[in-house]
């Protein structure tokens, strides 16, 4: 467990270092954290979730994923810091202690491991998975256009060479299917939060249509308060709204799928950008970004804890 104390959270890390760090986290917090392999990626890399649990059977749970778009390094780097924060605050911060006393948290830090490895070795700007597309020289599926939620509709491309290629069918990307299977088999997820970068937004469904969701007012209110908490640290400004209304119509997204499958508290973060670096946020921004995001994320998790359904 000592490794997690010396681990440098203020730099970006390669996949093997992150996977090694996960083992240290489990060793350092054996009664709280376990590493769950939910399947393998297209290129056969293991896909791990850190499960934070104080016991119980099939407790209500919160899903958090980061790095589904591999070039969004700040997303994964922030998730690393937040995992450590949640672990070290348990038993110290009454809010985190209470949360984990009632609910489990599943945190997926590298949701697209093939893409992440590829950004470190071949193409820093790679966004998609690395699957071969039949009949095309272009590889990869946009794993946030591949979910069974308005699949193949506006805001996704049928062109395998596009950065937003939706893939041949819903859940065709094994990375997506592994998560879908976990969520469905578990059956008791109450929140689904996806962490992206960049452009400073907190979004809720829908993306595939511009119609309001039935819980629009509640999710908008939760989102605005979460952003208030986030902004309280450094004044970082966020916009809050549905994907369709504050970015653009995008079909096949993860939080639309989770919402339509009964996970009411479905949100997506787009983390900080200084306005100058895009996906290349300097490493000295990692901890400030993670720290402010944690405040917003914690607000959502507290709300979910206090509003069972």
């Amino acid at each position: 467990g000592g490794d997690t104390k010396s681990f440098d959270y203020a730099t970006y890390h390669r996949l093997d270092a992150i996977y090694s760090w996960m083992d240290s986290m489990v060793a350092g917090h054996p009664n709280l954290i376990s590493k769950v392999q939910i399947g393998s990626s297209y290129e056969n890399r293991p896909m791990y979730v850190l499960k934070f649990s104080t016991g119980g059977n099939n407790r209500p749970a919160i899903w958090i994923d980061a790095g589904i778009h591999s070039r969004e390094w700040i997303s994964t780097a922030s998730a690393l810091w937040m995992a450590n924060k949640m672990a070290t605050d348990f038993g110290v911060d009454p809010s985190v202690t209470s949360l984990l006393g009632k609910m489990d948290v599943y945190l997926m830090i590298v949701t697209n491991p093939d893409g992440y490895a590829y950004t470190h070795t071949n193409d820093r700007m790679w966004r998609k998975t690395r699957s071969v597309n039949s009949g095309s020289t272009c590889r990869g599926v946009d794993p946030n256009r591949n979910w069974d939620a308005g699949f193949g509709g506006p805001g996704a491309s049928k062109n395998p060479c596009s950065e937003s290629y939706h893939g041949p069918s819903a859940h065709s990307a094994i990375e997506v299917k592994n998560i879908v299977d976990l969520i469905k088999n578990h059956g008791n997820f109450k929140a689904f939060i996806s962490i992206h970068a960049y452009s400073q937004l907190l979004m809720y469904p829908y993306g595939y249509t511009c119609n309001d969701i039935p819980h629009q007012a509640e999710l908008d209110s939760v989102g605005r308060r979460a952003v208030q908490a986030l902004s309280s640290l450094y004044g970082t400004s966020y916009r809050v709204g549905s994907i369709c209304k504050i970015i653009y119509q995008a079909s096949g997204g993860s939080i639309d799928w989770s919402y339509n499958n009964g996970v009411k508290y479905s949100f997506a973060f787009e983390l900080r950008d200084t306005g100058r670096y895009g996906f290349l946020l300097p490493a000295n921004q990692i901890i400030p970004t993670a720290t402010e995001t944690w405040l917003g994320l914690k607000h959502i998790m507290e709300y979910v804890r206090d509003h069972p359904y």
Binding site: D8, Y12, D123, E163, S199, G278, L280, A283
Partner: protein, 94 residues
């Protein structure tokens, strides 16, 4: 390793729905091999476009001809990537 020497990222601030529509046609085209880091949807949000060096002249001319305001956000993408790589290697050694 793919290199991005001379590639720029342009930040575009569309002023009208008509300009948004023009940018959407640019996004849907494949000739310039553009990578939209943020997408044209409303004039409230800036649109960041990664433009390969080979397409820079044509894209900037397109924006100028249509009087769409923009500025260069990243002058040379490869320079930033090189710096990031140096930081990564330095931290790995540390």
């Amino acid at each position: 390793r793919k290199v991005f020497t001379g590639d720029q990222v342009l930040r575009v601030n569309a002023k009208s729905e008509a300009q948004i529509q023009l940018l959407k046609t640019l996004e849907n085209g494949e000739v310039f091999k553009l990578d939209f880091w943020t997408h044209p949807s409303s004039s409230d949000l800036p649109i960041d476009i990664h433009v390969p060096y080979a397409s820079l002249y044509a894209v900037q001319k397109f924006l100028q001809d249509n009087e769409i305001p923009f500025h260069v956000m990243i002058q040379d993408l490869q320079e930033l990537l090189d710096k990031e790589q140096e930081d990564l290697q330095r931290n790995a050694v540390k």
